[in-house]
Amino acid sequence: MNSKSPGFLISTFVIWLFSASAFSDCDFDTDDADSPNFVDKIIECDEQKKTTGKPALYRASGAAEYKNTTKLYGDGTKDPASGIFERPIVAPGSMNHSPNKTFAARQAYSLRPGAKFEQSVTLAIQRLYIEMAHHCAKGWSIEDQWSEPNPEQEGDYFLHYRFACAG
C-alpha cells in the first residue's frame, strides 16, 4: 500500500484518534471551544490534565500505585453547596471495607471572601472523612493529600486525599 494512499491515511488517522494520547481526562466541554475565554479553557484544561486525576496520582505515588487507586470523584453529579460537579458524599451508615484497597477522593472548598460556610475547607475535610469512613469502615491511612485550584473559579480549590483501607 502506498504510504500516501487514502487507506493508509485513514487508518493512521483513526488509530491516532483512538490512541490514548488523543484523549484526556480533562472535563473540557465541547462548547467551551466557542466560549469567550476559550484560550483559558485550552490552557487550564491541559494543565489540569497534568495536575489532577491520573497525572497527579502518577506524580505523587508512581504508576503502579496509581493503577490500583479507585477514583471517587468526577462523575458529573452537581454538589449544590459548591456548585461543582462531583460525586455526592456517601450516606452515613452505608459502610464498606476493602482491605488494602486504595481510593482517591476530593472535595471542593473556597477561599473567596464571600464564600459560604458550606464551601469552607473544614466542611471539605469533614466530607472527605465521611467518604473514607464509608469506603474503609475498619480504618484507613491517608497516603497523600494535596490541593489544586479550580480553573472554573478563582479562589476555589479541590482538596484531594489518597487513602488506603486497613489490611
Binding site: 494520547s21 466560549s35 473559579q153
Partner: protein, 322 residues
Amino acid sequence: MNKLMLSAAIASTMGFASQGFAAGPIDGTIYGKVNVSAVNADNGADDTWKLNSNASRLGVKGKTEIADGLYAVYKAEFEMCVDDGDCKGQTFTQRNIMGGIRGSFGTVWAGKHDSPTKLAQNKIDLFNDLEGDIKNTFEGENRVSNIVAYTSPKINGFSTTVAMIPGEGADVDGDGQDDTGLTDGISYSLSYSMDNLYIAVAGDQDVDSQDLLRIIAQYKMDALKLGVMYQQNEDNLGTKDESGFFLSAAYKLDKKTTLKAQYGSIEDDADGDEEETLSLGADYKLAKGTKLYVFYTDNTDSSVGEADKEDTAFGLGMEHKF
C-alpha cells in the same frame, strides 16, 4: 503481512509515538460532538420532516509551553454533517481555526474564528445550532476569516478582546474602494464575570457589512439561568437600522431535566420590518455529555405591506459530546 495490516501496524506505532510525546511536540486533545435531530419544519405552505446535523463537529486543540509561562495555543475545528455527509459539497467544513501565543500579557491569536462579538454572547442562546438559533434573527453572529486578535488576561473579573480584520482588497465598508488595511473591520468585547454574573459589551465595525453594538448579561441563581441581550446594528449602505432585544431562561427541574425558553425581537427602523423568534424546549440528560432534547420554534418575519412569513419547527434530538 497484508497491506492493511502493515499500514495498521505503522499507524499503531505512530499512535504509541504520539503518546510518548504527549507533553511535547504532539500536545493535543481530540474533542467534538454529534448533534442530530428529527425536525418537522412548516413554512406555512409546506410541512417537511427532515434529519438535521446541528453543527456536529470534530476538533483538536492543545498547547505547548515554549518558555516559562509562555504557550503556543492552537485549535482546529471542523463541522461534519451527520445527516447526509454533505457539508456544502465537502466531507468536513472549517469552523473555528486559530493559533496563538499566550503569556502573562494575554493572548495574541489569529485565524478564522467567531468574532469577539459572537463569543461575547456566551451561549445565552439556548437553542444554538437549531432552528431557534439567534443567528436566524439577529446580526452579529459571524465567523470571520483573517482575524487577528488580542485577548487580555482576566483582571478582577474584567477581560477584553479586540480583533482586527483586514479586508484583503475587498470593499468591506461599501464605499466603493478596495480595503487593504489591517483594521478594515474591527470587533471587540469587554466582559466582566464574577461568581454567577456575566456582563459584556461588544461591537463590530464593518464586519459582515454591519456596524453593531450589543450588551449581554447572564445570571445564574441556583437552578435558574437567565440571559438578556440588547442590540443595535446598521449596515454600511444605510438600508438597515435595527434594534432589538433577546431574553432566555433555563430552569433545572432536577439533575436530569432542564426546561428552556427564549424570545427575541428586532425591528428595522429603516423600513419598519420586524423579526421575532420564540423557542421552547427541554433537555433530558442521559449521562455526562449526552442528552436528549425536544423543542418548538416559531420564527416570524413581518415586512411592511406584506403578509407575515412564519416558520415553525418542532423536533426531537440527541447530542453527545466527547
